[in-house]
């Protein structure tokens, strides 16, 4: 009887273990340059979640131009979470498909932007064209690489940073529009995303300067050699706030709401913030930001809210069909 009882107990424990331990799969639909960040972060989160719950988490990544990625999710790509380049692209999930609530940005700290970045210039070693600030980008004979704002979140930050500089320097929206128009006349290739632009500039050796995410510029230096490129920090740039959200309707259907929420919350943890800093994103946590301060030069950063009245207005004015960008680029 004792042996029978023991055997049954062992079987019961094994059965209970088998029944509770499970593998959960998440899909993180993100923008172009976050590949390396989320490779690191997914490993860390999987370890954290396993220790906390005993469950395995496998996070699949999808990357592309932020706007294009948002449209894919709206069209049915079953993302558990989105980690996109800007709030307007996440907004599209609420307004175009009701996949998330309209107030999604209030659900996580810092308007659901766990790390920030900004826009800098990447030039060839020695800066042969002497690029120092935005004005140098509109000079004749300077070839500028930036992606297409219609499909890329980074490109929209690039565009708005240039606009903000010109408006501050020349005093009006009309002058800013003229300035940005001249800048885009120096752009020979419009890639669909930021990583594509990096390929164009770094690997295809096209252009004199690439307007780039700060983290992407560091990535180019790290991957392709600091002896080949250098970063130029303009006098004014923009505080880029990539935003994240759980996709409510997808996680409800898949039963992954708890782990998806934890996945995004963990971005604010010390480890999550440290991984962001290591991958050249500016951490929100002041202590961890201080640890990586040497990587991030201080410069004047305008904000989307103060300078452009928020993403909804900026999107409608500049990037909607028939908006200012279409008028500029049609010329």
């Amino acid at each position: 009887m004792k042996f029978k009882t023991l055997l049954l107990s062992v079987l019961a424990v094994l059965a209970a273990t088998a029944a509770t331990a499970k593998t959960i799969e998440l899909l993180n639909v993100s923008y172009d340059p976050t590949r390396e960040l989320y490779v690191d972060y997914n490993k860390a989160f999987a370890t954290y979640w396993k220790a906390k719950t005993g469950d395995d988490v496998v996070v699949k990544q999808s990357h592309g131009g932020s706007g294009k990625q948002a449209r894919s999710v709206v069209d049915g790509l079953p993302a558990d979470v989105v980690t996109l380049a800007l709030a307007a692209d996440v907004d599209a999930l609420a307004t175009n498909a009701h996949l998330i609530p309209a107030d999604w940005q209030k659900r996580l700290p810092q308007n659901s932007a766990p790390y920030t970045s900004t826009i800098v210039f990447l030039v060839r070693k020695g800066n042969p064209k002497g690029i120092k600030d935005w004005d140098d980008l509109v000079k004749s004979g300077v070839s500028v690489i930036t992606p297409n704002p219609k499909t890329s979140g980074g490109a929209r930050w690039n565009y708005l940073a240039a606009w903000a500089y010109a408006k501050h320097k020349y005093g009006s929206d009309a002058a800013a529009q003229k300035f940005v128009g001249e800048l885009y006349r120096n752009v020979p290739v419009l890639d669909s995303g930021a990583r594509g632009s990096t390929v164009t500039f770094v690997q295809r050796e096209i252009g004199d300067v690439a307007i780039s995410w700060e983290n992407e510029a560091f990535f180019a230096l790290k991957e392709f050699g600091a002896d080949k490129f250098e970063i130029v920090v303009p006098s004014i740039s923009i505080l880029a706030e990539p935003t994240v959200s759980v996709v409510d309707r997808v996680v409800k259907k898949k039963g992954t709401a708890e782990v998806a929420k934890a996945y995004l919350e963990y971005l604010y943890s010390d480890e999550g913030q440290d991984i962001a800093g290591r991958n050249y994103y500016r951490p929100r946590n002041p202590a961890i930001a201080a640890k990586y301060a040497a990587n991030f030069p201080q410069l004047t950063l305008v904000t989307i809210d103060a300078e452009f009245g928020g993403w909804t207005k900026a999107q409608k004015t500049h990037f909607a069909d028939g908006g200012v960008f279409d008028q500029i680029y049609a010329k």
């Binding site: 290739v189 419009l190 890639d191 669909s192 594509g196 164009t200 295809r204 096209i206």
Partner: protein, 460 residues
């Protein structure tokens, strides 16, 4: 690409021009200007190459989500890139001419008939869910012929729900477009046509054994459901078909399939079990009295075989159909057993393979090129015998035949896979019950039926 080539040539020309200059020192400013020009041209080539690369990347990305559209002799198909979702449009139009000879002239049976006119919609969702919707616009009224949903769990187990052909008759299960003759044989009178139900089917043993089994509402001989089945009685229907030599490439038996099908159930309906048995010429030679009702067990059994060997093809089937009927709602019950058989064969004169799914001409008919498509000759013998006990209580011996024996000969001209002319001659001899008068009360039964039926068919 032409632009790139032109720029490349310009770059080569400029490089060639610089080379002698460097060999013979010249004005350094001019040399620098030329170097700048070469660099600018090189940069332009890179830009153009990258633009092409981006376009190709965009096209590749778009291709992953762009639906595939296929237009062929099998219809029009729109499918997702992975093929999991599709919609296919097919059609069938058959215009017949019927001519009857030597029938005394008192019957208005010669003429044109739009035998079938169908727009067939079918396809899949999420790979494993299929559907089919077939309205029939031919004949005298519009009806829903097939409307069903399939669920494929495995090749060996598929489910079908809705209205579709009941799996009993061999020739009946063959597509209307591809039978040897314009009209199926008289034995098809004894098997159910389309019915409402649920069926499981699949291929076993690597496709050497096919099975189908289902529960259906139950319809009378040759009948189809009218889209509703409110009685409490149901039929169990099953069929197994073996193709044991399927993989024996060198065997003359490779194309042999044989099996047996059957149905069993109970029926209690206010009408007889058939609206009438028809000849090859589609004239009714037997029907029950209008007061006859079905009450009790019904069953059918049908051994059957199909054989294909190159250009030669043949089918054979035998059907026994048993029904319990009463002459009136309160009359005494009687079990009647009607039997039929057929043997039909075809030979494709132009050498193409005979197939259960039709003949595919090696070349299409083309007057200018002198190609003629495919020609097939066909022959058939068939017999249907009504139970002697049906007379006189359940059917009038004076106005019905109790047996029909027919032979047919035909020529099918496949102008292409989709377009065909079919010419058939049928002759049917009638037999009568001992109680029948010397001269039948029905005009068409007073002599053998001699019918020439030609058809122009579009099937895709």
């Amino acid at each position: 690409m032409k632009t790139i080539s032109r720029l490349g040539l310009a770059l080569l020309a400029a490089t060639a021009f610089i080379h002698p200059l460097t060999a013979a020192p010249a004005d350094s400013a001019e040399l620098q200007a030329l170097r700048d020009q070469v660099n600018a041209l090189a940069q332009q080539i890179k830009v153009l190459s990258r633009q092409i690369e981006i376009k190709e990347e965009a096209a590749t990305a778009a291709a992953a989500t762009t639906p595939k559209i296929t237009v062929s002799d099998k219809g029009v198909t729109l499918a997702s890139q992975d093929g999991a979702n599709s919609i296919k449009l097919r059609g069938l139009v058959q215009l017949d001419s019927r001519l009857f000879f030597g029938d005394g002239g008192g019957v208005n049976n010669n003429g044109f008939v739009l035998r079938r006119a169908r727009i067939i919609t079918e396809g899949t969702f999420a790979k494993n869910y299929s559907y089919q919707l077939v309205p029939e616009f031919g004949g005298s009224s519009v009806s829903i012929l097939d409307a069903n949903i399939g669920v494929t769990l495995d090749k060996s187990f598929q489910l079908k729900f809705g209205k579709f052909k009941s799996p009993v008759g061999l020739e009946l299960l063959q597509s209307d477009s591809w039978t040897f003759f314009n009209e199926r044989s008289i034995v098809t009178n004894l098997v159910p046509n389309r019915d409402l139900g649920v069926q499981a089917s699949g291929d076993l043993l690597g496709g050497k054994l096919n099975y189908a089994a289902g529960i259906f509402g139950g319809v009378g001989d040759g009948g189809s459901s009218n889209n509703a089945d409110f009685d409490n009685e149901k039929d169990l229907v099953a069929r197994v078909l073996a193709s044991p030599f399927k993989d024996a490439a060198d065997s003359s038996l490779q194309g042999l399939s044989f099996g047996v099908s059957g149905s069993i159930g109970r029926e209690k309906t206010a009408a007889g079990r058939t609206s009438g048995y028809k000849t090859d010429g589609q004239q009714t030679f037997f029907s029950y009295n209008s007061s006859v009702v079905s009450d009790g067990q019904v069953w059918r059994v049908s051994p059957q075989a199909d054989y294909r060997n190159g250009s030669f093809g043949a089918i054979a089937e035998y059907v026994v159909s048993t029904v319990n009927v009463r002459p009136t709602a309160t009359g005494a019950k009687k079990e009647l057993q009607n039997k039929g058989w057929q043997l039909a064969a075809g030979y494709v004169l132009t050498g193409e393979d005979s197939s259960y799914n039709g003949v595919s001409p090696a070349t299409n008919f083309n007057w200018e090129k002198g190609t003629w498509g495919a020609f097939e000759v066909t022959g058939r013998f068939a017999n249907l015998k009504v139970d002697d006990a049906a007379f006189p209580l359940f059917a009038s011996a004076a106005t019905n035949a109790d047996e029909a024996s027919s032979f047919g000969a035909g020529l099918n001209w496949y102008l292409s896979k989709t377009v065909a002319f079919k010419f058939d001659y049928y002759q049917t001899h009638f037999g009568f019950n001992a109680a029948a008068p010397a001269v039948s009360g029905t005009q068409i039964l007073r002599q053998d039926e001699k019918a020439f039926i030609s058809r122009f068919q579009l099937a895709f």
